[in-house]
């Protein structure tokens, strides 16, 4: 019964501060909440939404745990950190838990984002319909290749890179999705920051060095591939525990 909960990403910021349960008590430096917890959230939310759509109105950690192949206690702790609250015997009310998780993740209303680099990957992301469910709305793409520019494909527009700063500031877009070649990544990232963006989703392999306060999340397929190919060639289990069940993320 194998399963693990790991992830190909690096997040970086500067100012520790209010966490999930950052309530009134105004405690200095709330403990930065564990990344593994955050990574499990989408799986919970996904399942909860599906069950809510089916008409259920409460759910227990036990049910979630069974469906996801995780430990119930782990889920309970996660939901607590996310601000959820349940009642004995019945569990959590979906009608309050789902919005709580969405708010916790910042998915209550979609963030607008720009894609930078309208190549293979950039266009795939630009055209992907599934981000709406994850609080993301890609509003435009940018590229420095004149041949890519202007092409309005599937209703999304591709602008010249030079317009990034202007449009970014005018539209108040705070999230940039980097899909440029790796060599250009650092420079483009700096442009994004200068344009007022506070978060970068970095699909290039580059390690970015940016001003404090900028949140960077790297998607590194090489990391994932390392696990896959190592285990494929060594025929090895990841953990002596856990199991893949249910649906999720």
């Amino acid at each position: 019964m194998p399963e693990a909960w790991e992830s190909d990403a690096r997040t970086a910021t500067a100012r520790p501060c209010g966490a999930g349960g950052c309530d009134e008590k105004a405690e200095m430096s709330t403990p930065p909440l564990p990344a593994p917890t955050l990574r499990r959230m989408p799986a919970y939310l996904r399942l909860l939404r599906a069950w809510e759509a089916e008409g259920r109105d409460t759910v227990s950690c036990t049910h979630l745990a069974e469906a996801l192949g995780l430990d119930p206690t782990l889920i309970r702790k996660d939901l607590q950190l996310a601000g959820g609250s349940g009642r004995p015997k019945t569990g959590y009310r979906l009608a309050e838990l789902v919005p709580a998780l969405e708010a916790f993740l910042g998915w209550s209303h979609p963030s607008e984002a720009f894609v930078i680099g309208a190549g293979n990957l950039g266009l795939a992301l630009l055209h992907y319909q599934g981000f709406a469910a994850h609080g993301l709305s890609i509003v435009a793409a940018f590229d420095d290749d004149a041949r890519k520019v202007g092409t309005s494909s599937l209703g999304k527009r591709i602008f010249p890179l030079a317009k990034l700063a202007d449009l970014g500031q005018r539209m108040g877009v705070r999230l940039g999705i980097l899909c440029v070649p790796e060599a250009a990544a650092q420079a483009v990232a700096e442009t994004c920051c200068a344009a007022g963006m506070r978060g970068l989703w970095n699909f290039t392999g580059a390690r970015l060095q940016l001003p404090e306060g900028t949140v960077v999340e790297d998607i590194d397929l090489a990391q994932s591939l390392a696990l896959l190919s190592h285990r494929l060639s060594h025929r090895q289990a990841p953990h002596p525990a856990a199991s893949p069940i249910g649906t999720a993320p």
Copy 2:
């Protein structure tokens, strides 16, 4: 100086067995080596290759640690697990460390893979030139939409899904890259297994249930997005430690 080393993926298998240092001692159930270690490997390898290309012939953990913003002892342990061996004062010989890491990851000679689902994402992966450096060679794509089939774009062919089993077995392809809609994922995954594939790189959000021994690696953008958007909306640091430097993955 923030940085973290986490990742959006789940790996699953069945038979624990020989790990990296699975040498002669034939110990029952070698400890399955830590996923975090595996995930750091590509970063090491990348940097080592670059330095080797620059003409360096030895490297120390200290150098790597500086370039990557990690702890030197951590790197030392990782390299040990990967089968590397160094010498005091000089460090590791690139000429032996690089091949050792490649062998460890199973990247010594490329694995052939099929992409299933020639949509936005599937085609982006199919056309990506960068996988060669990571021991991966995508040789063809499959789709059940007749309009996608046959199109030989950039020299890669797209076959009807029905040919998957036949071609997979004839070519001995052991790796499948799932880029179909989530609803189709489980069925397609089973087809892949039936076609003799032992590893699946799963880009759909689905949680797959497959026969023991199949290695599954999930790429779940929602997980990564959760970290990004939560931290963006709560302006929070991931750890009170670490820093992004160097180049990597």
